[in-house]
Amino acid sequence: MTTTTALATARRLLLAVLAAVAVAAAQFNEPLPPEEAFPWIAFAEAGSVILSFQIPEGYYLYRHRFGFESLTDGVVLGMPELPEGRPHVDEFFGAVQIYRGDFQIRIPYLRSGAVNEMRVRLELQGCADIGYCYLPESWDRRVRLAGDD
């Protein structure tokens, strides 16, 4: 097994484990903690930061509530490539797009000097079909850039 293959496999499995935690927690009929309702991982690939999500059934994220920021000097994020969401007509807020299930957001980056790692800030907000919404969340993750581009 090459290092690249092992890492890709581990990422997929890690996200699957996070999703399994969410499914297990949902059995207890309580609001999932936000990190279990909206599990995600971040990694760098071909000059982009990839944010990979696996949202458990019954939960969704609003496309228009995403925000992204580089917290590292020397790393600038470009325009995020958000996939098309599912149309969702909200009785109060009109036509919006939401994400359910698995999806990825790709954000190209530019780095200067010998920066091998960055911290990315992700802002998001979502709800559960059962009848509640999560407070807007802001999460930071470290992403290893070394040898990516």
Binding site: M1, T3, A6, L7, T9, A10, R11, L13, L14, V17, L18, A20, V21, A24, A25, F28, E30, P31, P33, P34, D90, E91, F92, F93, Q125, C127, A128, I130, G131, Y132, C133, Y134, L135
Partner: protein, 201 residues
């Protein structure tokens, strides 16, 4: 196998172990909680109404203890939360029907004052609305609640004893249940522990 690949697989193994530990922890948690406490996350609901004050829509500070002798339905909400907005007409109807019988709805908006004021112009609230951002979150913490979803609603009896908390959108049957419990408490046909067990959602 390289160090990086080994590290990745170790991470995976630890995650799987964490999953098993988590499931086991959540499975035994309810049995370890005393009656009348909130089971969500690490929350333990307090027994009596805590003391805090928040701004109302006019900018005046209002104590949550300002409705002496009333049972309270304290509804935490926000203008950006669709299920929160959906339940407001129900709460208004409930207030109309039960306000004179000593049951008072109090809204607590976890939001910006201006956003709530603009929303209130269209909504014509018939119950008081208090507003705050960090202050409202701190108020929720005073109840002992681990707080990450809206709406949620805390019930008290006329003596300001906490009866329970409802996570998520309220429906008629939840408020009907509250009224039954309040009547039974007043009549002495139900004790506080039974009331809390009945209203725990």
């Amino acid at each position: 196998m390289t160090d990086m690949a080994r590290s990745a697989l170790l991470t995976l193994a630890l995650s799987a172990a964490a999953l098993l530990a988590y499931v086991g922890y959540r499975a035994v948690l309810p049995e370890n909680m005393p009656d009348g406490t909130e089971h969500a996350g690490a929350s333990v609901l307090v027994d009596t109404l805590p003391e805090f004050a928040l701004e109302d829509l006019a900018g005046e500070m209002r104590s949550i203890h300002g409705w002496e002798g009333d049972a309270l339905v304290i509804n935490f909400w926000a203008t950006w939360c669709a299920p929160c907005l959906r339940e407001i007409p129900l709460l208004k109807e409930f207030q109309d029907a039960n306000g004179s019988a000593g049951v008072q709805v109090v809204g607590i908006a976890v939001d910006h004052l201006e956003a709530v004021r603009a929303f209130a112009e269209d909504m014509s609230f018939n119950y008081p609305v208090l507003v705050g951002q960090l202050a409202a979150m701190e108020a929720a913490a005073e109840f002992g609640l681990e707080f990450f979803v809206l709406p949620f609603t805390v019930y008290t009896d006329h003596r300001k004893r906490i009866l329970g908390v409802h996570n998520g959108e309220l429906h008629t049957e939840h408020l009907d249940e509250l009224l039954l419990v309040l009547k039974a408490l007043e009549a002495g046909s139900m004790d506080i522990d039974a009331a809390r067990a009945r209203l725990h959602h």
